[in-house]
Amino acid sequence: MPRCSGGACHFSMLAFVIQRLFQSALVMLIVALIAFVMFTFIGDPVDQMVGLETTLEEREQLREQLGLKDPVPIQFINYIGRAIQGDFGISYQFKRPVATMIGERLPATLELSMVSALFALIAGIPMGVYTALKRDSFISKIFLTVSLVGISLPTFLIGILLIFVFAVQLQWLPSFGRGQTVDLGWWTTGLLTSSGIKALIMPAITLGLFQMTLIMRLVRSEMLEVLRTDYIKFARARGLRDRAIHFGHALKNTLVPVITITGLQLGAIIAFAIITETVFSWPGMGLLFLQAVQDVDIPIMSAYLLMIAFLFVVINLIVDLLYVFVDPRIRITGGET
């Protein structure tokens, strides 16, 4: 495959980006459409918005005003029209702009997700390296088995057990919420106070355990693959020390796919935070979303799903672009997604 050079490369790159952006927009549109069709089945938002004694006429009127009586395609077009202008509507339940509410909840979820991803990397990589280098050692077997237990226990059970042990029995860590947060104007952070950090420990572990297992196993298998390659064999033959081979060459080569996968997983972590946030009453977007599902708060549900789709599309795009930059051998058109 000929390597592109200079202007031609820029051109095809631009075309690639435009094509990807177009695809991304399409993906988001379809996500929104599917979400919309689904919402019509989930329940009646009006019943959740009014007290039990509200009369039928008033309910009907409300339905009319909310545009819920319009055909779904019309509702959809109206919604997209507003969403493009950054208007995601007002929450049925909270009577506040959805964009603002999500903006307020975003820091909590992002902090939790980042910290748990960090935890997964910091714990997962060394364990993966160790199990790859000492394949048959007892500790490796323990690591592998324990990590399997990690993915075999459902998230909610891990969360509940952690609360039971560390919050109720030992009373070391708080059982819910974010602790004290510091408002930086556009971002609230729990990382600057001790109570905030304490509150973060259990949710981050609960959320990160699955990713940790994944990373550990990925590092292990990648390491094993790399260690078999000729160039490592060659390095070994040259008399390089094990340590230099393992960490200077093998691990370095392993990290690219690991970081890619972690990046790709970030979207999933954020979405998966729903369950962790529910168990720990963590005031993030996942909790907001689950409450919205229960209350049939359609504007929040739509905005959340669009946002997750957006995040994923962006992350995918960045990963794709990085690939192209890092490894020019990857063909630009018709690339595998």
Partner: protein, 530 residues
Amino acid sequence: MSIRKSLIGAVILGGLMTTSALAENTFKYAFQGSLKSLDPYSLNETFTLGTLGNVYEGLTRRGPDLKILPALAESWSIEEPTRWRFNLRKGVKFHNGNDFTADDVIFSAERIKSEGSDLKSRFPDGTKFEKVDDHTVDVILTAPNPILHFEWSTWYIIDKEWAEANDSVKVTSASDQNASTISLQANGTGPFKIASHDAGVSTVFEANTDWWDNANKKHNLDKVEFSTIASDATRVAALLSGEMDMVYPIPVQDINRVDANPTTTALTGPELRTIFLGMDQRRDELLYSNIKGKNPFKDIKVRKAFYHAIDIEAIKSKVMRNLSTPSAIMLSPFMFENAEQFSRLEYNPEGAKALLAEAGYPDGFEVGMDCPNDRYVNDEAICQAIVSMLAKVGVKVNLNAQPKAQYFAKVLASGGFDTSFYLLGWTPGSFDSWNVLTNLHGCRDDEGNGGLFNLGGYCNEKVDELSAKILSENDPAKRLDMITEAYKITTGEVGYIPLHQQGLAWGVSTSIDLAQRADNELMMYYVNKK
């Protein structure tokens, strides 16, 4: 001179700071649901209105025993059967310093009837409010109504001037696309002000040092922090670990644990809500049954058999852990003086079988049951227990337990009363029988005109007549007789199968003293921190 002055200043400031640090009494509590819009007319729901009742006040309020007490109205009298006079309290100020006057009451009366309000039922249509002077208001009714003010403790008075200045005259309706000031901020006359409000997460209240009733105040709080913790386990854990001074509700099975913990205690008491079973008695054929061409529930023998099959004591001791009061009527005995004249049909599975056989179902039949699973205390467990009790008399019940969003969408009028057999709970907002008789027992058509929450369509015209008379009868004794007569009819016909009044269970730190009201509303002005 100037040095001395600033020194004194520093001393005073220092003194202030230490005292405030010492005296800062913060009360932290958590509830399972969340506080959404702060507009007091947006949602007719117990928790929202109860919480706002610490910030706003109505003309009346209710004491710890739920007795109606004067609040913003010092007194009232029925001048003529259809004219009531309310004498308003003088010297009351809203949180922003505005005076409370008759104009605010009249403004609030108009506002609560306006489009978008969810509390339109606070007084009958056609009721007129007249300003007599700045501190007197007359209410003119179209017909006598002895329970006019029963729900006024949650009709909060809004400052007219503030609402007009802040674009908040219109009620923040469920369909509004723009959040108005009043849905985000509060300006009431009550004992607490809202310092910050993060909808759905937490709200911070500060004591109102200028409250008109501060001389008699029961609380010693400076600050109150409310958080939403939806998960039961997390909520209890937060109390046990000392993060919260009070949480509610706590699951009944955790009461012992909360009590066993040295620094917490469970505060329990009867609640007003009555849990009951309803049966479709209107359709000619049940929607969910293997019996075709007829409706078994139209036969009183079948309804009685179901009643006899239920072992309410087992439900009480095992499912409710003794935190329930089995009930023979459809409302709490708190709200009905002659409650002891009624008794439940006894648990008698053999009798139930015999009745079913007599009705022509010796081998029982199949019926679908709708049940919420996140609405009432252990609702799903109660339904399961009932399924197994009915199985023992030969009735096969197919249980359909759903979250309340789907459940209500299905069984209420908006879903076309799509149910054959269901579990529901009811608290009359006015704490009065008329509400129960019209909403649950009034005849209705297929659209729900009439008894809107009479999901099973029970109908007896005699009861409807009585309830119309009850509404306008001003004589308490005659009224009580008619109510009793109506209940005699409805219980005799087994229009419903009442189960119990569920219990309240609050988890409270031992450093806290508070009053538990049977309507499950937390009034912060009864809270004391030791």
